[in-house]
């Protein structure tokens, strides 16, 4: 089976072909969606969940750490954004910063508890912490609005210097989310092939060996957990703007499980692009299957199970398999052999 780590990226371009494809698709999305009978808001949702899923996969696919309570940090980002608008100032950048910092601090604290754990204990603790945050969101009525959620979160305008543009229109908000998504993709890809990212992957492959070649494994686990919480917080702030509210349901165990399913179906275990494919597939399945039948989630669940059993490498693995079947013109020359 192919794996996330087996095809080292070289030479190191900041921008790769799949990124150009993604950017093009994103650019065209506001025209594509209505053309196939879908609506603008879907694009926003997809962009938000891709950011969330990419951050999640740094932990899940790259480092091999199984977090099943990650929705908590998405929710924390959303509440932090909303509370900032209500209590501090109506400001896009202020809200984003508040969301990222709050989710980051929560992630750093939880990560400190988790990072000395392995396997099932790690996974169970992530669920435990996720439930605690969900419970707090439900019970701290005066802060979060409890079950009803935090309502009336504005969409502050985007200001860059003297330039200002409103994000009240769904198309404008989509482009803003898409721009953030592209930044996350470029930096995430860079990170995955950096020394830091390769140590994360080494930990997934063989934690014991990583220790014996001298790495403080728990610090890397802590750092990547915090980083993925930060990205969840970023996604959460966009979600608060999109929904113009923050609700506890994204923090539930159910929603936390959803991102795991999306990433697995997309092929997050074998490809950087797995989360992107998985999120798009989920939302398209939701809207297309959902338009045909009430029981679409059952069908999605069956697809998920079939995938796990028959195609554990997911959509990305299937695409990869197709591209491999085509004969290569020439074996890729290793740039290093001339030095050998």
């Amino acid at each position: 089976m192919i794996s996330l780590s087996d095809i080292p990226a070289r030479p190191a371009a900041w921008i790769t072909l799949p990124m150009v494809v993604l950017a093009t698709v994103l650019l065209a999305t506001p025209w594509l969606l209505p053309a196939v009978g879908l609506y603008q808001y879907l694009g926003i949702e997809i962009a938000i969940w891709i950011i969330f899923a990419l951050g999640f996969n740094l932990l899940f696919g790259y480092t091999g750490l199984h977090s099943f309570g990650h929705g908590a940090y998405l929710g924390i980002g959303a509440y932090a954004f909303g509370l900032f608008q209500h209590n501090v100032a109506v400001s896009l950048w202020g809200g984003l910063l508040a969301a990222v910092l709050t989710a980051g601090v929560a992630g750093a604290l939880v990560g400190a508890f988790l990072s000395h754990r392995r396997g099932i204990y790690y996974a169970l603790l992530t669920i435990g912490f996720g439930q605690i945050f969900w419970f707090l969101a439900m019970k701290l009525h005066r802060v979060t609005g409890g079950e009803d959620g935090l309502l009336g979160i504005p969409r502050p305008p985007l200001t860059l210097g003297s330039w200002q543009v409103a994000l009240t229109d769904n198309r404008a908000l989509f482009y803003f989310a898409a721009a953030l998504l592209l930044i996350v993709v470029v930096l995430g890809w860079r990170l995955a092939n950096s020394p830091f990212g390769r140590v994360l992957q080494a930990i997934r492959q063989n934690e014991t060996r990583a220790r014996f070649v001298g790495y403080e494994v728990w610090r890397f686990k802590w750092a990547v957990f915090t980083l993925s919480a930060i990205l969840a917080g970023l996604a959460g702030s966009l979600l608060a703007m999109a929904q113009q509210g923050a609700y506890p349901d994204v923090m539930s165990l159910h929603q936390s499980g959803l991102v795991v399913m999306m990433v697995l179906v997309g092929g997050g275990l074998v490809s950087f692009w797995g989360p992107v494919l998985g999120v798009v597939f989920y939302f398209v399945a939701r809207d297309v299957l959902g338009g045909l039948t009430e029981t679409w989630l059952l069908w999605y669940g069956l697809i998920f199970m079939a995938m796990v059993i028959l195609r554990p490498e997911g959509l990305a693995g299937m695409l990869h398999g197709l591209s491999r079947r085509r004969p290569r013109l020439q074996p890729a020359p290793a740039p290093a052999t001339e030095a050998a």
Binding site: S5, P8, P11, V199, R209, G214
Partner: protein
């Protein structure tokens, strides 16, 4: 004083005493051998010396510094490298990355999150030089999982060498190797002995007697004999097992 010393090490798992008052010392620049029957506690001894297990009693010092009780990553960073009896590689990636990850230069870059590993000439050249030492430079960009058993053993050693160790622990490096691969490994160790301090657990007597300056025999969790190979050849236990090996062969 010896470069690496273990004094009065005790280790037990539950009620099972595995190491009982073991004292060993390894001189800089020498090849020290450890032999003994299966289950004698040799690997456990390595685990204690390199930080995988804490000793229940006793002390380990490296270059005069106490290291017992430190975690393996700390001990590794001080210049103690090891290979494993059951192979312990990064199997989802290419051969060269196994070695790169162990390079001190890589460790120095471990927090670089925006630099590209596989276009870093320094890392690639250093890793290729290490692979060259064990004869694997030509396989650098192959999947680690695609190597033959013997080549994986060699890669195990390359990973340990990449750390630029001051002392190298090898746990049964010939285990599972055929005659030819064992011969090649012996040549490799001969080349390495000029530059490294080596401690080697080995059940292949001929291999060990040819290479080691000193040998310690561990049995029932204790050191039952110690000395240069020539002196040990007369030891009762050693004679019995060499005899056994000869009749097996």
């Amino acid at each position: 004083m010896a470069l690496f010393e273990a004094r009065n090490i005790h280790k037990r798992f539950g009620s099972r005493v595995v190491l009982e008052n073991i004292s060993l010392s390894f001189e800089a620049g020498q090849v020290s051998g450890i032999m003994g029957p299966n289950g004698a506690g040799k690997s456990t001894c390595f685990h204690v010396l390199t930080g995988q297990h804490k000793p229940d009693r006793g002390e380990v010092t490296f270059d005069g510094q106490r290291i017992s009780g430190l975690p393996p990553q700390r001990i590794a960073r001080m210049g103690v490298s090891r290979s494993f009896q059951l192979m312990n590689l990064f199997d989802d990636t290419v051969v060269i990355e196994n070695v790169m990850l162990a390079l001190p230069a890589f460790r120095a870059r471990r927090l670089h999150a925006m630099a590209a590993v596989f276009s870093d000439r320094v890392l690639i050249d250093q890793a290729l030089a290490v692979l060259d030492q064990v004869g694997l430079a030509g396989r650098a960009w192959d999947a680690a999982a695609s190597l033959s058993y013997g080549d994986r053993r060699a890669l195990e050693i390359a990973v340990a060498l990449a750390a630029e160790p001051r002392i190298l622990f090898l746990d049964e490096p010939t285990s599972g190797l055929g005659i030819e691969a064992t011969r090649r490994l012996a040549q490799l160790v001969k080349r390495l002995r000029d530059r490294y301090t080596i401690v080697m657990i080995e059940h292949d007597m001929r291999f060990l007697f040819e290479l080691a300056d000193r040998i310690s025999v561990i049995h029932w969790g204790q050191v039952i004999a110690e000395g240069p190979p020539a002196q040990l050849a007369d030891n009762k236990w050693v004679r019995r097992s060499t005899l056994a090996e000869a009749t097996h062969a």
